[in-house]
Point group: C2
Chain length 191, copies 2
């Protein structure tokens, strides 16, 4: 499975510079539904013993892999909202993250109705880059008094340091594909 | 399957007034992954003979049902973006829709890389209400020169008139659950 994702990145991924990897043909604009099923199964297998009760992700591009992971684990998925929908209560969990790719801060909100102190949360996102978005999700879990049990992502850009930031959470961090270098137009894969 | 979705709306759906149906415990904030698989299978079955090559939806809440429909049909899904990601080319298909629930206009953008004249497009969204968002997706399909083959949604609020707006597109419109009246705090289901 991991090889299939890596091959796809090799074939279709584009290094746009400044650490930006274009994979919008199969992950985050057009989504390869079959690949996403396999991604979800793989993450579910890696975290199968963590006893997660919910998957948590951030809209928008985290939704597809988080949903397929939740499917494979037969648990619900919650996606933190960046703008408050009309159906969300006034009192919400709310954390802020600087967005590298958007050049501004984004808010992440989750309803207390769906993140409970009794929940064991597996965070899933498409990218682990600077780790700032995922760190904000970790703070949402803490704010809810729930227990974080793992962090899983499809693609880790290790040179952006997110893993180091998140390791202090003390939970297993799994990335299906690791990229160690994107300087000079290259895409160098790690082990 | 349809009965299961209807039961869930009866049990957990809340009529917040002004036609707003809160279903964020299983559709559009927390997502019931297993229910969403069934929804996707049902829509795939209803449009199985349409020969769709891609599912098209709008971020954010359309992504989950569109992805599961695409899974069941073994085709990719494209989600139209509301803000332009850094990975999107300068020239994109772009349509505007007034948003009833947001009280402003939203833009929907799709990359010409992924909507091709040869594509046969099945549009899937969570709600069919005023039909304005879906009508903008239909215009994206037209702008791309692709062929629209069907429109499928989970919940239709028939009293908001979206079906009438979309029927001029000439394609089959399928809604799994139809709500005919939400006045006075009620949620009245159609046939």
């Amino acid at each position: 499975m991991v090889e299939r994702l890596k091959e796809r990145i090799k074939q279709e991924g584009q290094n746009l510079g400044r650490g930006i990897l274009k994979v919008d043909g199969f992950i985050n604009h057009q989504v390869d539904a079959e690949l996403m099923i396999l991604v979800g199964r793989e993450l579910a297998e890696r975290f199968g013993r963590a006893g997660a009760t919910k998957v948590l992700t951030a809209e928008i591009s985290g939704i597809a892999p988080a949903l397929t992971t939740a499917m494979a684990l037969s648990i619900p998925v919650v996606y933190a909202r960046k703008t408050k929908p009309i159906t969300m209560p006034d009192q919400v969990y709310r954390q802020t993250a600087p967005s590298h790719t958007k050049g501004r801060h984004v808010e992440l909100m989750a309803s207390p109705e769906f993140l409970r102190p009794s929940d064991r949360i597996l965070i899933v996102d498409d990218f682990l880059a600077t780790g700032q978005t995922i760190a904000a999700l970790v703070r949402l879990v803490e704010e809810a008094g729930a227990k974080l049990v793992g962090i899983g992502t499809l693609i880790e850009k290790r040179f952006e340091g997110g893993r180091a930031l998140l390791e202090k959470s003390g939970v297993p961090i799994e990335s299906l594909v690791v990229i160690t270098d994107m300087s000079d137009g290259r895409i160098v894969f790690g082990e």
